[in-house]
Structures are given as C-alpha cells and as structure tokens.
C-alpha cells in the first residue's frame, strides 16, 4: 500500500520519536510511505488567524506537490493539525469556489495548481486501523502489551470537524485507537476526556488556561488508573509530557504519566527495541511502566547529577 507521507515540522524536532517509530513500523505493516518532496509547513493554527488566503495557499502548495508526485492518490499525515489543514484546504477549495479560485491563482504564481478532490487525505491512525486492519496487526503481535493500562488520547483535530464527508469515527467519543490498543494486548481504560483539547498553543499565550486543560486530562487518566497515555498528535504529546512537571508545580499535584505515540506501542508489540522507536526521549520517563511488559529502556540522555551541596558552605534557601 503506497501513500504520500507529509511528516510536518514537529516530526523533525519536538516529535522526532513519532517520525522514527512511524518509519520503523511501516515496513512490517506493509505500508510504503513516500515523503512529499520539498513540503512546507502547514501553518498550524497560526496562519489562519492572520490571513486566510495565504494560509490556504501555504497548505495548497503541499497538496499540489503531492498530487504531482508519481500519481499519488492518498496522502497521510501523522500530525493532527497537519492532517486537518490538508483536509480542510482540499475540502474548502471544492466547497467554496472563491477559495478554490483564489488559492489556485496564488499557486499559479509558483507554477503550480491543485484540483480539489485529487487526493484522499487521511490520518495515519485511520490507515493503520482500516487499511492494515486490526486482525492483521493482532497476528503480527509477538510481545503483547499484557497488563499495561493505557488511556487512548485522541485530542481534537483527528475527529473534528467532520467536514461533510462520512466521519472516520465519532467526533466526540471515538474508539478506533481503543480497538487498536486492545488488538495489541493492552488493557484499554475508560477515558472520558479522550477527545478533549490539550491546550494547543495556549501554553505559550495563556499558560494558566493551558495548565488547567492539561491537568484535567492527566487527572482523568490517573482517576482510571492508567499507566500511560497513548497519543496520536505531536502537540498533545508535547503539552502532556513536556509541561507535566510545570502542571504539577502549578497545582501541587504529582502526576507521573508517560505519554507515548501509538506507533511506539505498535512497535513494542511487534517486538521492536525501544531505541528503534525513539523511546527514551520522553520528558516523563516510560521506563518503569514498560518494565511491566518486560521492556528494558535506556534514557536518551543521562540526567546531570545535581551537585551535592557542600556542608561547609553558607546556608542557602532550599529550592
């Protein structure tokens, strides 16, 4: 099965483990992922806030490049924001002729054009669950995630908005990630906030707002005694993982929940080594949790040992 692959900016930096694990599982799952040559940023949620025409044009350059690449018909993005921007631009260019015309006029300035509907744009999770199939994945499992309690976290943009077409899953209470984790042998916990927002860019703009949204999610997963949260989006992973200690500091909580990508869970169940899957780069370590399924991990970088205070030095306030 051949797909155009749009990694998006996060997968080159903050979400590098998502890219590594996606590429690692592609072969055993029979997925041929062909990166779109010279793709550019999708604009995230920022460009649409400032200028819509430019925002559509930015996304459409990727669509035009993908549609021109050796007859690709399907395009996949592992990042939920990239996925939505690609899908929304394709959909709106067809639905609203003015958007279609203006976007193509802009593309023409770079010698490109895009006919809406030429590509089917799909999230990587959809492809894994519906094209590879749960039965086929279950057959390949050599190291079932037995005894691991996982909270399936979808976030927003993979399930919403529905954009007229038949939705892949329920927009408020999706289950396809639950089914996948079940097929991998894990215990899937009930997670009522599974499709709630992680705060997106609010960590930068209004951190109190973001911390409260993150706290609710962590609390909900902790209430259902999850060992870890499994995500499908780089932004969700970043907010829940890298800001967890700040949330703990802000609310006086003590959450210790690793946040892993679904592709990493698939890899582990297929018997791959944690290192091949980028595991160890989480800020909240997954080592203790993964020991439950007999997986030994090493941290990507050793933590610096804090210098012990010299007893003879002047008394300093404890931090």
């Amino acid at each position: 099965m051949r797909y155009g692959y749009y990694p998006g900016c996060s997968l080159g930096s903050t979400a590098a483990p998502y890219d590594v694990s996606t590429k690692a599982i592609a072969k055993p799952l029979g997925l041929e992922l062909e990166e779109i040559h010279d793709w550019n940023c999708c604009g995230a949620t920022e460009y649409f806030s400032i200028q819509k025409t430019a925002a559509y044009a930015l996304v459409a350059r990727n669509l035009a490049l993908a549609a021109d690449q050796d007859g690709l018909k399907q395009l996949t993005a592992p990042c939920s924001a990239c996925y939505l921007n690609l899908r929304k631009t394709d959909h709106y260019m067809g639905k609203y002729p003015k958007i279609g015309e203006r976007t193509n006029e802009a593309l023409a300035a770079g010698g490109l054009s895009y006919q809406p509907g030429s590509l089917e744009i799909r999230h990587l999770l959809d492809i894994v669950v519906n094209d590879v199939g749960l039965e086929s994945i279950a057959e390949k499992v050599t190291n079932p995630l037995k005894g691991l309690r996982l909270a399936p976290y979808y976030g927003c943009l993979i399930v919403r908005p529905t954009l007229g077409d038949e939705p892949v899953d329920n927009p408020e209470y999706p289950t396809h990630l639950d089914e996948l984790l079940d097929a991998l042998g894990a215990t899937v916990v009930d997670f009522p906030l599974k499709a709630h927002c992680c705060g997106g860019h609010m960590t930068q703009i209004s951190s109190d707002t973001a911390y409260e949204l993150i706290r609710r999610l962590l609390q909900n997963a902790a209430d259902y005694e999850a060992d870890a949260i499994v995500t499908i989006c780089p932004m969700c992973q970043l907010n829940l993982d890298a800001y967890q200690s700040q949330v703990n500091g802000h609310f006086g909580t003590s959450f210790d929940l690793p946040v892993l990508y679904f592709t990493q869970m698939i890899g582990l169940a297929l018997g791959m080594q944690p290192k091949e899957l980028g595991i160890g780069k989480e800020i909240v370590s997954a080592s203790k949790v993964l020991k439950k399924i007999g997986v030994e991990t090493e941290e990507a970088e050793a933590k610096p040992e804090r210098k012990k205070r010299d007893d003879k030095s002047l008394p300093m306030p404890k931090v």
């Binding site: 900016c9 930096s13 940023c41 400032i50 025409t53 927003c156 927002c197």
Partner: protein
C-alpha cells in the same frame, strides 16, 4: 475571555463591530471544533472565530492579547524558511512579550534540549522562492 461566544454572536447581530473586534474572545479559541460538531444549525463557529481574528488584525484591534503576535512570529519563520522553528519562535516571542517568564520556561527548555527534541537551527525548504511567490500573490488577493 471577556465575552462568551454566545454573547459575541449577539454583539455581531447588534452591529457592535468595534467591541467585537477588540474582544479577546476569538484569541482564546483553541480550534477544538467541539462547537462545530455540536451546533444544531451547522454554523462553522470555529471558522467565524478565525475570520474575527483576521478582521481584528486588519483593523489592528488586538491590544489586549498576546496571541496575534505569537501567530505573527510563527508565520514570520514559515515565510522565511518554509518550515516552522520552535526555538526561534519561543525565544523571540517570550523575550518581547514576557521576558520574566523565561525563568519559568527554563526547566522546560532544558529538558527538551537534553532529549534532543529542539532544533537549534531552522530548516529551509529548497524552493523557498516558489513559496514566497505564492504567498505574495495570495496576500495581494486577500479579502477578509
């Protein structure tokens, strides 16, 4: 958030253009799209919020929120390199807007650096001239 979304729509109905565009409400929209899948009249509320942001930027009515500058800094890097650049974005935005917050972000940034999850240099696409030509043309066609 100074007005609830419901109130914002009522204010639009009442023709309170300036108050609506000066409100920080649209800038608190995180684009979760819950409203869009729930609205019984199928009003694309999230898209309305984006349009309000566009209009506020055009009218330069956004002094109460940091969000527009964050968005502008983000797209500044995209227009220059074709890719986003978190390190530059975070540094530029925080130094200009909340220099003191740098301290509280210290542990976060250090953790990300140690795990090699932040690039120190932006990546540039090959055909940046093509992208700039497209974006320049798009801006000339902008109708809010």
């Amino acid at each position: 958030m100074d007005h609830s979304p419901r109130k914002i729509f009522a204010m639009i109905d009442a023709g309170m253009k300036e108050e609506v565009l000066k409100s920080n409400t649209p800038w608190y929209c995180v684009s979760c799209y819950y409203c869009m899948v729930r609205c019984p009249k199928e009003i694309p509320i999230t898209d309305f919020m984006y349009t309000l942001k566009n209009l506020a930027v055009e009218a330069k009515y956004y002094d109460s929120s940091d969000a527009p500058d964050f968005s502008e800094s983000f797209i500044g890097y995209v227009e220059k390199y074709g890719r986003s650049f978190e390190m530059g974005l975070a540094t530029r935005y925080h130094l200009t807007h909340k220099p003191l917050s740098k301290f509280s972000y210290g542990p976060f940034a250090l953790g990300m650096l140690m795990k090699n999850r932040i690039s120190l240099r932006p990546e540039r696409i090959e055909n940046i001239d093509q992208l700039r030509a497209i974006l320049d043309k798009a801006k000339s066609l902008e109708v809010v």
